[in-house]
């Protein structure tokens, strides 16, 4: 039975690989056009009305969730997966506390942007500001990014000298600590009561908001997906550079990399900080859209879900982890029957993937460098050894 599945899987994997190879073989302009069409489709998704595809919508079942809302969640999870992929997939650091950075980003916008937050109240009292004063959303975005980045460095500095399992345990603890701090420091975070009135691009949530409201989620989705595309672009740049090669070298063999002149600590810290910043920004978007957060939203289950997205999707491959994120966010919404058994289903899926395809659904394959005419040149060159 298992053998049969394996065989099927192998064939499918072969097909996938040849899709990848054929894609890479296409001329540049064709790839460009396809990419543009794909992006256009992504932006069109919330309006999805193509006959034959409408069954994909989560509101096509009775009592289904808001379609654009589900898409927004998918986009945020993809952002998380891309960030976590830098840490786990590229640099090879098992981070089980990624939810901590997500929470820091979310709390950054809540604490500085909401008029209900004790921090903003303190500023108002201290500097004689009007009771409607709070830090604007755009500046909160910056604060969230920087706070997550700094917390990544602070966590990474002492722990990145640890290896493998130790790092996993320490980061797991970190994720929990952030949640517990958020719950217990009532004077700062309002503890379990949570913080409401978290602003969006148009300021605090109010019925007057034209675009970014609580009813129509489409603009939120478009905002999130735009951020995702920007980040994909940025991470791509890093992947195909000296930085990306250093990460991979560290992942493959840290000692050998060091002997070849890579300073492992420096690049591991960068990976950690970049991952943290992306996770923080995802948390920031999440908090802005829901306008309310409390500590229960950031439990360790979610952290494990994040790792599952990366591992199931295909650690090291941005397409793979994005697919993993979308599947894990979307399936329970569309197929409500499994929603109750969500964790069981994820567990099973994880085990199956680990047995059948340890590299994930869409495994990473280093893009062959486009060697212009060099490949041909090399063949001509006599091997003079």
């Amino acid at each position: 039975m298992i053998d049969k599945i394996r065989d099927l899987d192998r064939r499918r994997a072969g097909a996938l690989h040849s899709v990848g190879d054929r894609w890479r073989a296409l001329p540049k302009w064709q790839r460009g056009l396809t990419f543009v069409a794909f992006v256009a489709f992504i932006y069109y998704l919330p309006l999805l009305g193509i006959p034959g595809l409408t069954w994909l919508r989560t509101d096509s079942i009775s009592g289904g969730s808001n379609w654009a809302g589900v898409l927004f969640t998918c986009a945020v999870y993809v952002l998380v997966a891309i960030g976590l992929n830098v840490v786990i997939g590229l640099a090879g650091l098992l981070d089980l506390g990624y939810i901590g950075f997500f929470a820091i980003g979310a709390y950054a916008v809540a604490l500085f942007g909401s008029v209900n937050s004790p921090v903003v109240k303190w500023f108002q009292a201290e500097f004689d500001l009007p009771p409607t004063w709070a830090v604007t959303w755009a500046i909160c975005a910056f604060i969230a990014l920087v706070m997550a980045l700094i917390s990544g460095v602070i966590l990474g500095w002492p722990t990145l000298r640890l290896r493998g399992d130790y790092l996993a345990i320490v980061t797991l603890g970190f994720g929990e600590i952030i949640r517990i701090v958020a719950r217990n420091m009532e004077g700062v975070t309002r503890g379990p009561q949570g913080i409401s009135a978290i602003p969006g691009p148009e300021g605090p949530p109010s019925p007057d908001n034209q675009i970014f409201g609580l009813i129509d989620i489409k603009p939120w989705y478009w905002l999130a997906i735009t951020v995702v595309l920007l980040m994909v672009f940025a991470v791509r740049r890093l992947e195909n550079s000296r930085v990306g090669r250093s990460w991979l070298a560290i992942r493959e063999d840290e000692d050998a990399a060091a002997v070849m002149g890579v300073y492992p600590f420096k690049f591991k810290l960068w990976a950690f900080a970049i991952g943290a910043a992306l996770g923080g920004f995802a948390g920031f978007l999440f908090a802005s859209r829901y306008a309310f957060i409390d500590p229960t939203q950031f439990n360790v289950n979610l952290s494990i879900l994040f790792v599952a997205m990366v591992v199931v999707g295909g650690s090291g491959n941005m397409v793979g982890v994005s697919v993993g994120a979308v599947l894990l966010a979307y399936l329970p919404e569309r197929f409500r029957e499994i929603a109750d058994y969500r964790w069981l289903a994820f567990g099973l899926a994880m085990v199956l993937v680990m047995i059948l395809r340890p590299q994930g659904l869409i495994p990473s394959k280093r893009r062959a460098r486009e060697l212009k005419d060099r490949a041909a040149e090399a063949e001509e060159a006599p091997a003079h050894v």
């Binding site: 940025a234 740049r237 890093l238 550079s241 000296r242 930085v243 990306g244 090669r245 250093s246 991979l248 070298a249 493959e252 063999d253 000692d255 050998a256 990399a257 060091a258 002997v259 070849m260 002149g261 890579v262 300073y263 492992p264 960068w270 970049i274 090291g316 990473s364 280093r366 062959a368 460098r369 060697l371 060099r374 490949a375 090399a378 063949e379 060159a381 091997a383 003079h384 050894v385």
Partner: protein, 312 residues
Amino acid sequence: MSDETNNPVAPKIPTQPVPAKNLLEIDDVTLRFGGVVALNGISFEIKEGEILGLIGPNGAGKTTCFNVMTGVYKPTSGAVRFRGERVTGRKPHQISRLGISRTFQNIRLFPEMSALENVMVGTDSRHKTSVPGALFRLYRVRPKEEELPQVTASGGIVRTWQQVRRGFAKTFGLSRHILEERAAEDKAMELLRFVGIADRANDEARNLPYGYQRRLEIARALGTEPKLLCLDEPAAGFNPAEKEELLGLIRRIRDKGVTVLLIEHDMRLVMGVTDRIVVLEFGSKIADGRPEEVSRDPRVIAAYLGEPADAA
């Protein structure tokens, strides 16, 4: 002994004009692992431009010696000096940048990276681009004429676009990231050609045949632009013909001005290529001298007795 007739030992290259300067000095180095004394007060030096052989029976401490030199292990006592500078206590990546590189006895490539990328990790060590540079590409360098974008199209909008790009690069320079990336790739490709495996440049290292992997290790180490290259049994598992090729490669590396330290079990190979040989046994140095002298040394003969001189 058919090897002997088919593959006569290549004539020894005459030593270069007396290389007097010491490139590396190992000074009374001792290293203990708990009760095991892996290195016991070892001292020897490597002269600039020579090929030095490091031999000894299994477990003699040869690899450990490499590990001490490259900063993987810190010696219990003693010091290693490279061009007069103390390297003990420095981190491996710092030592690599000073100019010591090595290969590994049990091949340790980056298996999921292509052959070319493996070498590029080495060449990267001479470059500076980090996260901000790769992300924003703001740091700009004035390119040389041949580094400017070429105008190749004969006409039309493509040509105009190429001209605009060229003009832009001329006025504002090219990003350091792009220039370094190109330099790394060119250099890596050249090294793959140098060791003779350029035909598989884009293959993942783990998919390469064994002999290619061994040579890829050498190319990667050369990528860091070492002054001293340490080869840890580079011919292990090679047949006589491959060994002969490797000898040629080692000589060509030396002729490029790189000093070579070679660990090798095959006495014939060592005798054929080295200028001088250091012999270790049980962590101690038992001989140090020209190949002819060493091969006549009774202690060396005793140490190797019972070890059926491998291939010779």
